[in-house]
Homo-oligomer: 189 residues x 4
Amino acid sequence: MTDTADYPSDDFYPEPTQPSGWLTDEDLAVVRAQLPLVYVDAVPVRVDDSGDVVAVGLLLRVNTQGVMTRALVSGRVMYHERLRDALLRHIEKDLGPVALPQVPPSPQPFTVAEYFPTPGITAFHDPRQHAVSLAYVVPVTGDCRPQQNALDLAWLTPEEACADDVQAEMMNGQGMLLKQAMAHVGRLP
Amino acid sequence: MTDTADYPSDDFYPEPTQPSGWLTDEDLAVVRAQLPLVYVDAVPVRVDDSGDVVAVGLLLRVNTQGVMTRALVSGRVMYHERLRDALLRHIEKDLGPVALPQVPPSPQPFTVAEYFPTPGITAFHDPRQHAVSLAYVVPVTGDCRPQQNALDLAWLTPEEACADDVQAEMMNGQGMLLKQAMAHVGRLP
Amino acid sequence: MTDTADYPSDDFYPEPTQPSGWLTDEDLAVVRAQLPLVYVDAVPVRVDDSGDVVAVGLLLRVNTQGVMTRALVSGRVMYHERLRDALLRHIEKDLGPVALPQVPPSPQPFTVAEYFPTPGITAFHDPRQHAVSLAYVVPVTGDCRPQQNALDLAWLTPEEACADDVQAEMMNGQGMLLKQAMAHVGRLP
Amino acid sequence: MTDTADYPSDDFYPEPTQPSGWLTDEDLAVVRAQLPLVYVDAVPVRVDDSGDVVAVGLLLRVNTQGVMTRALVSGRVMYHERLRDALLRHIEKDLGPVALPQVPPSPQPFTVAEYFPTPGITAFHDPRQHAVSLAYVVPVTGDCRPQQNALDLAWLTPEEACADDVQAEMMNGQGMLLKQAMAHVGRLP
């Protein structure tokens, strides 16, 4: 759930309801110890002509401990931002501007991942915070290029993505979330 | 739930598992009095860039009593046919070959419509048969043209599609199913 | 989305991960202008032996303007609280300790209501804040008694609950959410 | 998907719409080669006070080859029978009359299992037929006793139920369906 540089640019929300200032990093740190944050998780997939999932896109990153990790598209929902706009923003942030995602027409997520700062309460864990993340499978049809802090974007078959070696490279329970997504689309190996 | 001409052509399923003969109309009539049939209902929609539904496609037909009716895409699932293939086949049959439907990656329908030959058991009624229909919202991005027995395909806003006058033109509870679809996508007026 | 007296008692979360102090009212007011808050909405229902919904429970309250309103069970998810525990807490707070709610086994909500401080962005509006609310239908089998600031709890049929006069008494889009719940359970009139 | 003795007794459906005769075994055999049949699959679970799944109930049977197998509750939907009534009937048939199942208020299944007579098209396979099965997680709160052809009903933790040895005893892809159910309730190991 990396959301470094998670803030939209200043002119992203010109609505009059925008707060005078976004949260500073210090304010966010304080809030994170007091409230659950709203997140979205997107599982980017390639589908065939009949909508059947044929591949899953995973981001390859090096985390702060220097370890290679694989990740889903994930990030915070901003104040006054719709879930579908947050999904689009994070997908564009991670997969580039021409990924052509098909955000689902319904807001019903396939599951909700509850990331707790304490391990063991759910399958999800985030040492930084308590996050409630709405998870969606999002077909992408365009050209995807890893952005920012990602080294690569790899397309794996559902079988590969659920294999132990790949699962071991996913942090905070995202491997579980990926398996839940594959179960939802009928492609759990 | 008009499925006249519902049979695929003879070469549609060349699999070895295909039964030697499809059901004749007489056989189908007999079976319809003895077993629930598997159907799919598709609600064709146009979505904006963020996946939000902006229009619903309804087929305009004249029924056997000479009355103008509006209908969703609906039809039977054939022996040895996957649900997603049945969806594609019926969408192509009703909206033409270049509708470019985005069949959802998950088989989870937004609801199941139980059409009973007896009115009043559920909101759905089909005097011909007991049908269990899995219902999906299907974004279409291509050029849609009514085929076969449909006079027209009209794109209505969710508000228009749920209005009393349009609802009155929908048969067998399909108006209800349309409203359930709009509720699912967060666009019930 | 009334959540007056929304805080659990001091001994509710004795975990070591609890922050040293809950948010004060002042702190919450500040945060509300900067972050979306996580909420749950529960639609309490009575079901028959086959699980079919026969009645919906609505709370009758007088709001701060002295107007009679009807409401669903709704409230904030606290830091370090699971969604299902938040559902139970708010149901107990509003329906009493012996309502015997059947919280669904899956965290998948039937929809997500996005309450915006600005009207018109979604069907949901909350002048106080941006709230992202996960909505569940929750059968209750026990004895329900309105608590705290509610005058009464009325059990209405789905038809009555969706009627214009009742809908007019529901605030912030909760009438819409109720109709979405009825659509989900196949009981939209 | 054992449905031996799957027929309700003669007085089960006294409605006037009942066909003059139920399908004989010979007729059913013919139909099975021509049409997909409608099934329901129920995953019986025990839940704790907050609705979290703590155990899964699996039926222990000896199949026609003399092999011990574990199975979910599964069976055909009859003509003129509602899905929720079919669920109740099959649960009572397999778990006894005082299992006290909580059939979900919504007809939306967590997935649809497409059992094909040809292996490999989906994860589900039934050599007898093409069945389209709507799958539900059903909490049961009463006393469950295996009926008829089952030797035992075992309550396993989600971890045990998803373990390789138990999965190997489940036929036709029901092990997969069980894992999909656990993914849906957030309890996939």
